[in-house]
């Protein structure tokens, strides 16, 4: 799980072009949206594409997104449970 979390941090930085941020700057339990990394709705779409492309996971129920995308911890847990 820890390895997946580190990989996710690298992927998010690359995919969302998070300038001046390194994986070490991201705390796995910090919120990704609003405070914390300050991501927005366009980033959420980018993460949905990333999950499908890299992990074969399609989020059917968009209402669950808020819960899944809460932090690196929740994202990694969801991937572990649902990856194909």
């Amino acid at each position: 799980m820890e390895e997946l979390k580190e990989k996710l941090k690298v992927q998010l930085i690359a995919q969302l072009n998070l300038e001046d941020i390194t994986p070490e700057d991201i705390n796995s339990s910090d919120p990704l949206f609003g405070e914390g990394l300050g991501l927005d709705s366009i980033d959420a779409l980018e993460i949905i594409v990333l999950l499908q492309k890299e992990y074969g996971i399609k989020i059917e129920d968009t209402k669950k997104g808020k819960e899944i995308f809460q932090s690196i911890d929740t994202l990694a847990a969801y991937i572990t449970e649902n990856r194909k």
Partner: protein, 334 residues
């Protein structure tokens, strides 16, 4: 109605941004094309917004913010931009994703940012400006079309200050493609034509202020493909109608090449006045006239080191690209 350029800002291969004076030195040709000397965009754009912006949008937003600040304006009455090829980086990203992912799983950012009106839209969003914003894409007269539109609006009612700009970017991929096509004129030898890029923005106003850089004395566009006689006859007629006072200009800034027929026609018509080939400094791109206009304003303002001759008061700008269209712009010191 008389119109004035009350502010100007450019990002170009000449290193024109945030410099009090510039030096007319040809840029580095090492890449095979000229790239803009970009400023630290963090000084003008929020870091959170910056991460989604390509060079095209960064140049446009920084140039327009700087231009508005120079004019002492918070918002323009309209935003009118011109671009020949639009947001190439994002367009190429988007097309590559379509190709690699079999038209599925496309990232939203590249898609959203790939439209030609992205620059105008981003400027409007950043300023919170709900006035008109529009983009002209007319090959090598894109900027001229934007300027002409702004001129017509200012001659009407209800407009005072319009932000007008020209932007185009070059990428290794686009340069590779353009080089293989007839999209760019090819000259080698003593005066090679090099592809380039840049963004230049202006506040065009129907009010003269203490910040006014020069008076705008008109713009004319000539479409050689629509000419009903030989090129030299029809261009001569167009020139004589547009510039009956050609002898009174101190400087001709042209985008034509010494090998072009029009270069010799212009030399004959304008007599012994100095000729400056502006594409030696910015390269060839569709909206390069915006750079030429910025350079003319800098020359009139005496802010260019190594400029040919004395400080000009009346400048005639001519441009042509790979297409059949030519343009003439006239600016005069106030």
């Amino acid at each position: 109605m008389e119109l004035y350029f009350n502010a100007a800002s450019a990002i170009s291969p000449l290193g024109s941004f945030e410099n009090e004076s510039i030096s007319l030195q040809p840029p580095d040709r090492a890449l095979g094309y000229f790239v803009s000397r970009e400023p630290d965009y963090r000084n003008t754009i929020d870091k959170k917004l910056l991460r989604r912006m390509s060079k095209f949008i960064k140049m446009a937003v920084s140039g327009s913010v700087d231009c508005l600040a120079a004019a002492g304006l918070e918002q323009p009455d309209a935003i009118i931009t011109g671009t020949g090829l639009g947001c190439l980086t994002d367009t190429i990203d988007f097309l590559q994703q379509m190709n690699e992912n079999a038209e599925t799983l496309l990232n939203p950012t590249a898609f959203m940012q790939s439209t030609h009106n992205t620059a105008s839209g981003q400027i409007a969003l950043l300023l919170g400006c709900k006035n008109l914003n529009i983009t002209f894409s007319q090959k090598n007269i894109s900027f001229e079309s934007a300027l002409l539109h702004a001129k017509m609006m200012l001659n009407g009612d209800g407009y005072r200050n319009i932000l007008v700009g020209g932007i185009d970017e070059i990428t290794p991929e686009s340069h590779g493609l353009i080089s293989q096509t007839s999209c760019m004129r090819k000259f080698e030898g003593e005066y090679p034509v090099t592809a380039g890029e840049g963004a230049a923005f202006f506040i065009l106003s129907n009010r003269q202020t203490e910040k006014t850089l020069a008076r705008f004395d008109g713009i004319s566009i000539f479409n050689g493909a629509a000419a009903d006689s030989s090129f030299s006859d029809s261009f001569s007629r167009f020139f004589d109608e547009s510039c009956p006072d050609a002898d009174h200009f101190d400087l001709l800034i042209t985008g034509s090449h010494p090998s072009d027929e029009v270069y010799h026609l212009l030399s004959e018509k304008t007599g012994d006045q100095k000729i400056l080939r502006f594409k030696d400094y910015c390269g060839e791109y569709d909206t390069s006239t915006s750079f030429a206009l910025w350079l003319a304003l800098e020359l009139i303002g005496g802010r260019v080191e190594g400029s040919p001759g004395s400080r000009p008061e009346r400048v005639l700008i001519h441009n042509q690209g790979s297409g059949p269209c030519h343009s003439l712009l006239k600016v005069t010191a106030c």
